[in-house]
Amino acid sequence: MVDTPAKILKENVWYSNPVFIQILGICSTLAVTNNLMNTVIMTVGLMFVTGFTNVTVSLLKTLIPRKVRMIVQTLIIAFYVIIVDILLRAYLPDVSKALGPYVGLIITNCIIMGRAEAFAQSNGPLLSFWDGITSGLGYMWVLMIIAFIRELLGFGTLFGFPVLPAGMTHWTIMVMAPSAFFLLGTFIWVAKSIMLKAEGGK
């Protein structure tokens, strides 16, 4: 079975999307989706970490003893997360403050570990990098849609710019935790229904 870059892209962005099919990595990031800017930064950080972790794991795969590979992978991930954290604090201190502990929590984001384990362990560095980036992309667009809805209805803004007329009442619930669960649940429903329909049509 040979994976072509195009196929990996399609798999990671839609058919086995990390968020709505594999339900991975939603822990750390539902919390940041009430603001588009934070979501973009967070997902770009995740993309960076996933991509480079995959490359590193793929390059080192013959050197890492199987028994300790989990902890080695975790350390590799932690290494890249520290880089992201330091970069954020240096160039975007406000965003870094707003994200708080959630940057560090990229470490325990199951997507990264999952991709390192499932893909990078058995593929070359370049393909692994591509796989990491596309997984990040699959993660990004779902979160962007959720963040778009939450910020628009919750604050009436997009990326901080007021979009809705000032008289509109803000939906406070959209800023709070439950809405993230509802929106992600609904998103999964829509995506699954589309997939079921496509399968039925064949």
Binding site: T74, G100, I107, N109, M176, G185, I188, W189
Partner: protein, 197 residues
Amino acid sequence: MVPDINPFVLFFASIFTSNILLANFLGMCSFISISKDMKSANGLGLAVTVVLALTSMLNWVVLKYVLVPLNLLYLRYIIFIIVIAATVQVLEMVIDRVSPALYMALGIFLPLITVNCAILGVALFMQIRNYNFIQTVLFATGSGLGWWLAILALAAIQKKLLKAPVPAGLKGPGITLITIGFMAMAFIGFSGMLSVQ
């Protein structure tokens, strides 16, 4: 520097008003996959609570007496993760020796806990908010109990859901997330009681 919060208020707040799972979204991964039956939900809840209480104490000591004096704060992610992984490993061995019955019940959940975001999350919250030792212990224990409460409640709801007619596309994780959403709304009801942070 240390916030002026009564540790016991913090304890109750971390169970109800700022539940680690329902308000801070931490520990979702294992939460969704394990919440199918009461027994394993209970086991995992207990394991998370114990590990949280233990690791937060260790991490606090490491943070206060090693990382801060040596000015190595930027290494905290790696150090916290190592402390957590090591604690889980040691705990697993100790439980195996001391009580095989408990090991049978908890053993399979312990490795899962290393990658549970709630554990690392609590360690990071404790660092960012500058809690002192007592506050940290009660905050961590409360968070664990809150997580336990939430997973038990969800497992109980899931049991009833089995008999409910759910649309095909919504089956599985979809309906689980919406259920969690309702639970989170119910927990917001507690927020008038205490306000911390």
